[in-house]
Symmetry: C2
Subunit: 369 residues, 2 copies
Amino acid sequence: MTSLSDVSVPSRVAGNDEGVGLDELALATRNHGMPLELMRHDLTPLGAHYLLTHFDIPYVDPRTFRLELGGAVDHPVSLTLDELRSRPTVTVPVTLECAGNGRARLHPRPVSQPWLHEAVGTMAWTGTPLGPLLREAGVAPDGIDVVFTGADHGIERGEEQDYARSLPLPMALGGDVLLAWAGNGADLPPQHGAPLRLVVPGWYGMASVKWLRRIEVVRTTFDGYQMRAYRLRQSPEEAGEALTRIAPRALIAPPGFPDFMSRTRVLRIGPHELEGRAWSGHGPVTAVDVTVDGGATWAPARLHPPVGPWAWRRWTLPWDVREPGRYVVSARAEDATGRAQPHQLTEAPWNRGGFANGALHRLDVVVPG
Amino acid sequence: MTSLSDVSVPSRVAGNDEGVGLDELALATRNHGMPLELMRHDLTPLGAHYLLTHFDIPYVDPRTFRLELGGAVDHPVSLTLDELRSRPTVTVPVTLECAGNGRARLHPRPVSQPWLHEAVGTMAWTGTPLGPLLREAGVAPDGIDVVFTGADHGIERGEEQDYARSLPLPMALGGDVLLAWAGNGADLPPQHGAPLRLVVPGWYGMASVKWLRRIEVVRTTFDGYQMRAYRLRQSPEEAGEALTRIAPRALIAPPGFPDFMSRTRVLRIGPHELEGRAWSGHGPVTAVDVTVDGGATWAPARLHPPVGPWAWRRWTLPWDVREPGRYVVSARAEDATGRAQPHQLTEAPWNRGGFANGALHRLDVVVPG
């Protein structure tokens, strides 16, 4: 007999010299990161924002769509898209990052979507705040979690499921969580959750449930698959710590021009300006330091105003290149809570999911002589 | 001294058991294919169309943009975007496919952007026909090729270049080549060539130069890097045959639901409908045959009307699944010129670039018992 366990195996880490497999590649060719040169834009152009779909992109007909809100509430409601759109509407720029960003550069490599650096993006999301909707429904005083379920269905590590994640009730009632139907002024594209997605500012992307169709207030701590999967663990047996807010990170918009295959950057002798973006889900970014000598020395970058309270900020630093040679460029971010990326390019805090690893972005730059 | 040859090495094929390298992965995480479930849409949603950028996505300011048309013409012209937009405008649905689609499944694997199956998409491009513009400029009677140069700059296999491709003059004067500023009714996103790209219906995507900024009529055969790169060769020394029109291909919209990591499909016992899309740049698709037993037997699918003369057509086939087990599903396309994909799933005509290989799409489907 054929069972689901034949098609879905436990998570694993790659062997020492194991190249990226066809399974990881199948994820990498359908999902995608943001080409880093697009960091020149405050808002990531539509379609270039990072994308991670666990299962398939479902087709949800916006004409018959209803959002169901129920569970431990006094008045369960069912809302059409037009009813949602007639509620108070806000537009908020939010930087979202995949919790597994940088995973493919870890040793050993956790086998999953093989991100290098680029699983990030900032969009201006338009929608209605979640909190008032929950309050109108009359949340039970003993409610604990709010569970958000998408229309996407599949198997992961042996468990068949609809994609579902929860937020603690106080967080869901807070002012910042959105039910969004538009991004950068356009209807959501199917791959970003059309017709409706949750947007949880400051949290890693797994919390912002796409193709949202059901919201349920529950009286217990929700322990669905995706809550157990997104945790920091050294071994599979550990309970681990739940992933929530985005750790600080800085990325560099690659200077000069690239080689097609190696992606090495080529820069001419002369004055240049390094630039990039930095963000944190814990608090405002307060410092970005930049090195062009592989971490031997660091210089503080100029910080530009944030695109919004939940969005990245631009940084710049003049770089007068006077000598031909090879340069290793990197940047590190620190936020107002004192959280910071490491100072060493070799330092990448490892965990089994490759989550929230904070590893530094390394760019190899060649200045021809 | 540091020179460009240090950062850019000749093309190569992977060793026997060599996994995908970080260089290939760096391309796979920034470029992307079309998630195949989106074939349910006639037009690929914005941002989900396949994307291959050789160098960086350049920023071209639409307010100061000018298209230069010169070379062997009587009246060189320089046109703003508004001037282009005021010309006769057409909207044409076109299926574009990367010439290297399927490359990563070949043995040995050519080391480049590692496509599996998904480097395709169909958009309705809006623009002005190229032919009349060339005629107004007064093409010299001894013109041979028309060279199209983009704003993207980099190094490939040791050669520094602006991305440039040519078309034979009669082809450029023909009615079907477009200068496009919009796709699916929206301004082009930066990654698809904003503000202006060439669209060459029926040809592999490398011909449709993005970020187009110069058109030059020349009296010789253009032999730029990208003309020499996109050729069918068994060894690097061969001159090889130039890639032009898209060979027939059929893909399957994956039925059932997937496992996250293996992407194996799970389907329940009962009646289903297989569906997908098929296209050819040589002529209309005239037949799609489908197998669910790995190629032992084939059944003809129903062909739906093409989305346009240069776009894919939908195909469907009912599938009544009665037994649990493992199924291997595939589809093959044939066009009006008699060109067709192979009948064997193991047959993938190899060439050093992995181009136009016509290999069949294989889907592993498990029906649990």
